[in-house]
């Protein structure tokens, strides 16, 4: 299992409907797993009665907190997870009882037969309220409800604001975005005394999943195996999940495989959406529009447990400071527990959120000074060779070229003469290509390269393809090093028991981290293959076009592989290489160079606003990216357009509405995501200058694709209607109210 396929045939299987996602995989004797969840945002569990459920024919396991290990664990350094709720439930959807049964009907009957008595407790539902004295405490271990508090100042911010010619800012809020993966969350788990746990979990950080689940059950890591089936979309949703843990607990109890596949309702009810942020921001500039200082205070709603919200908060507080020269910067970040479903990361990871605020304020400064928005950005952006205020070392940066090209392609000059209710907006973005702070212990990636008996080359990696084209990119890298056809390279990943360790596909790390490891491994394989062939055929061997040439004779790689086996007792020629970047761990002061390479982008959006309804249509979009040298053009364009489409949805229509802790729009009809008619043709271009640290000069593109998008759309709307929307999404109602000068609702 795992993604064990040739690069070409794995994509062909997707087109032929042959790809087996987790819901398509079955094990003999598998049971249906399900969960009884809290209907309350915050309550004391008075009594759990499972006797009736246990008596239902076909029910093989019913678990309460008393039946599972009770130790706290978690995927980050914040250990606040349980397996099942013991004394209190902390959010609507919190897991109280787990059931496994031989049929779906028996499962449903058992779930309905569980009786839980609750005593309601006051809930805390807003981050700022969570910090107020006397607020309900979500976790006793964290009485201030604030698991993370960022305080950061570089330069003298007060002095910078004191000498400012202009200051603009205000309160901006970003919304609760559902990742919108088309494949609902699902898992299949099995247990045996000999093998331990095997979990078929669509997770793109399976090694962190293994570590977390081993800790949950007190097992050594080699007793937990994560097999990663093809993933039907994640965008941040499928990291490390309680559903996996609960399915595993049921499989251990029932001693039978357990499958648990959510329907869309349960997927949305238990969703861990984008961390909603409240941002108070001020930016100061001089009379020429040069920035002097930036000051932000951010409140983040972590929900009731920590997933990746601290990383999102840290990114929001720092990342845009390496896009512009702000002079002096100050950030205070309050990450707050609330009685909401835990929030986590989505593509863009805090940076896109903060850029929405930053880019909006920059446009307000430009307006205030009568400077063109493109021009004011040109006066303040970072450039190649610089070290930014937080220590990012920009060894490649074509941001200026991106911005100039985006202005040119979009016909920015016509902004002065647009018809009424039309607007053009520009926004910039930056990101990382792997982030040293994701794991405090190490960074990098390992790849294995192997010459197969059939003469093809097999690459193993610990990183995960989500459909973004990682495997094809790795195949292209290995093929280029070995001078063989890309179809002769097979990329394997997605099984913690078989493939090298990988930190996983997050922080836009796969191209640079995994790609560099693949390049190193392929280079070493080529070198060892050459040395071996010299011994076999003579000193003049050359590897050209997939064959070994020597003295006028050509030897296929299959022949070389066979010779190697005969010389080495049947063994296979294989090498293993690790890429270890020279980056800095961003400690408490968030200073250092955390990534080998930084991608950049400039986006321009054109919108048309219907003044009668407030509905916004994005009618044009231009995205110019510095992703270094592009290794897989079709995939890179797909990443950019996909990111832009998600950004358009985010900015104009998407919002997971929560009232009293309960999500109100629990279906894909009520939570509206962009359809084909919502996305205009997107012009995508690349400014290709090699980065010295990326494989063949490549940098990342996955997340920087969405970073500027909400801001570009928001700036275009402001340009169209002459009023600034500060709260996402800029829904028809909000835009209509702005147009009609009423108080913007929040």
């Amino acid at each position: 299992m795992g993604n064990e396929v040739t690069v070409r045939s794995d994509v062909a299987s997707k087109l032929r409907g042959e790809t087996r996602y987790v819901a398509d995989i079955h094990l003999p004797g598998e049971l249906y797993g399900g969960v009884v969840r809290s209907p309350h945002a915050h309550a004391r569990i008075v009594k759990v009665d499972v006797e009736k459920a246990r008596a239902i024919p076909g029910v093989q396991a019913v678990l309460t907190a008393d039946d599972v290990p009770g130790g706290a664990y978690g995927p980050t350094q914040f250990k606040d997870w349980n397996i099942l709720a013991k004394d209190r439930v902390l959010f609507v959807g919190d897991e109280v009882v787990a059931v496994a049964a031989t049929s779906e009907a028996a499962l449903r009957a058992a779930l309905a037969a569980v009786e839980v008595t609750y005593e309601l407790l006051p809930a805390v539902l807003q981050p700022e309220e969570a910090l107020a004295p006397g607020a309900p405490v979500v976790h006793d271990e964290q009485p201030d409800n604030r698991p993370m508090h960022v305080q950061l100042e570089r330069g003298d911010v007060d002095a910078a604001f004191a000498k400012a010619h202009i200051i603009r800012g205000g309160r901006y809020t970003t919304n609760r975005i559902y990742q919108g993966h088309l494949e609902p969350i699902g898992v299949l788990a099995n247990w045996s005394e000999e093998e331990g746990l095997t979990i078929w979990a669509p997770s793109h950080i399976p090694y962190r999943a293994r570590e977390t689940y081993a800790a949950a059950f007190g097992l050594p890591e080699d007793k937990v195996r994560i097999v990663v089936p093809p993933i039907g979309g994640s965008f941040g949703a499928k990291y490390v999940l309680k559903a996996h843990v609960i399915a595993a607990a049921l499989a251990m109890a029932a001693k039978q495989p357990v499958r648990m596949v959510f329907d869309r309702y349960e997927d949305m009810l238990t969703a861990h959406p984008r961390v909603p942020l409240t941002i108070d921001i001020r930016i100061a500039a001089d009379a020429e529009g040069r920035f002097l200082g930036k000051d932000v205070v951010v409140w983040g709603d972590a929900g009731a447990r920590v997933y990746w919200s601290p990383n999102v908060m840290a990114t929001a507080c720092t990342r845009p400071d390496s896009l512009y020269h702000f002079g002096a910067v100050r950030a205070e970040g309050h990450l707050c527990y609330t009685n909401h479903s835990p929030t986590t990361c989505m593509r863009g990871f805090g940076n896109a959120e903060m850029l929405f605020a930053v880019e909006s304020v920059i446009d307000e400064i430009a307006d205030g000074l009568g400077i063109d928005p493109v021009e004011i950005r040109l006066r303040n952006i970072v450039r190649r060779g610089e070290v930014t205020i937080h220590g990012y070392q920009l060894d490649s940066c074509e941001l200026e070229a991106c911005l100039r090209q985006a202005a040119e392609l979009s016909g920015w000059a016509r902004r002065q003469a647009l018809p009424p209710n039309r607007g053009l907006g520009v926004a910039l973005g930056n990101h990382v290509s792997g982030y040293r702070g994701i794991d405090s212990r190490f960074e990098g990636s390992t790849a294995v390269a192997r010459l197969r008996d059939d003469g093809r080359v097999e690459i193993e990696t610990g990183e995960i393809d989500l459909g973004q084209g990682m495997s094809a990119t790795y195949a292209a890298i290995a093929a280029r090093v070995l001078e063989i056809s890309v179809d002769s390279v097979i990329v394997k990943s997605g099984d913690t028991a078989r493939y090298p360790f990988g930190i996983g596909t997050l922080a836009s790390r796969s191209t640079v981290m995994g790609g560099n490891a693949v390049k190193l491994a392929a280079e070493q394989l080529r070198q060892q293959l050459t040395v071996f062939a010299q011994g076999e055929y003579g000193a003049d061997v050359e590897l050209i076009g997939g064959v070994v040439q020597s003295g006028g004779a050509a030897h296929s790689l299959a022949e070389v592989a066979a010779r190697y086996r005969s010389r080495y007792a049947g063994d296979t020629l294989e090498v293993r290489a690790s890429y270890r970047p020279e980056t800095d761990f961003p400690g408490k002061d968030f200073y250092g160079n955390p990534s080998p390479a930084y991608p950049f982008a400039a986006h321009v959006a054109e919108v048309e606003v219907d003044p009668e309804t407030g509905r916004v249509r994005v009618v044009g979009y231009w995205a110019v990216h510095d992703a270094g040298v592009v290794l897989n053009r079709t995939a890179a364009i797909g990443q950019v357009v996909g990111g832009v489409a998600q950004g358009i949805g985010w900015a104009t229509m998407e919002d997971l509405v929560v009232a009293e802790g309960q999500v109100k729009n629990l279906s894909l009809l009520d939570y509206r995501m962009p359809g084909a008619s919502d996305i205009p043709p997107v012009s995508v271009s690349f400014v290709e200058v090699p980065d010295p640290h990326g494989p063949f000069g490549a940098k990342s593109v996955g997340e920087v694709a969405i970073d500027p998008a909400p801001a570009a759309v928001a700036n275009a709307i402001a340009n169209a209607i002459g009023a600034r929307g500060r709260h996402l999404p800029l829904s028809p109602e909000r835009v209509w109210r702005l147009l009609h000068a009423e108080e913007e609702q929040r």
Partner: protein
């Protein structure tokens, strides 16, 4: 082989479905009450299943016939991941009940590569329909989960409008969500397939 005319399949359950076989015995619990034999054609071959008349077509395809290329995304007919062609028309298989499919000819993604329009080889022994090939070349998919439905929606479009207008493409894709591609690759794939199939048309 069609046992029942297409026009009859929308008549009430039990009409035109051949011999009724109310399930009893050990299978009754699995099949549910009132299970009957339902005959239809799947990917060109006759097929009969024993199912309650209200069993969803998507469950029949995925669970009874192991045709898992048809995906479940939203369960309410919005996302289009379960799109199949029923008598040539795109339907959400999560909204079609067994009795409605009785007598129909259903095309799923598994049947597309062997459909009659002509095939093209890629990846060694794997064969693709020109629309599938166009999705490959144009970057019309990433994670692949919406892809079978998207491809079948595209087939229905191109069957009806071999050279579709922009408006017709927009309309045809209105029922299919994709979270990965932003639709640009899907759009290009349809244009490409239209060009290829237009060239090879008699």
């Amino acid at each position: 082989m069609r046992e029942v005319a297409g026009s009859e399949r929308r008549s009430p359950a039990g009409d035109g479905q051949g011999p009724k076989a109310n399930a009893t015995g050990p299978w009754a619990e699995h099949l549910g009450p009132g299970a009957t034999v339902i005959r239809f054609e799947i990917n060109g071959a006759p097929q009969s299943v024993c199912a309650p008349p209200t069993r969803r077509l998507v469950d029949i395809l995925r669970e009874d016939l192991d045709l898992t290329g048809t995906k479940v995304g939203c369960d309410i007919g919005r996302c289009g991941a379960c799109t199949v062609l029923m008598d040539g028309q795109p339907v959400n298989a999560c909204l079609v009940m067994a009795y409605q499919a009785a007598g129909a000819s259903v095309l799923t993604i598994e049947g597309l590569a062997s459909a009659r329009e002509g095939t093209e080889a890629v990846a060694g022994s794997l064969w693709l329909h020109p629309i599938q090939r166009a999705f490959l070349d144009a970057g019309g998919f990433q994670c692949g989960y919406c892809t079978p439905g998207m491809i079948l929606a595209s087939k229905a479009l191109l069957d009806e409008h071999p050279q579709p207008t922009e408006e017709q493409v927009r309309e045809a894709l209105a029922g299919n969500l994709c979270r990965c591609t932003g639709y640009a690759g899907v759009w290009r794939a349809i244009e490409l397939a239209a060009a290829w199939m237009g060239r090879s048309a008699p």
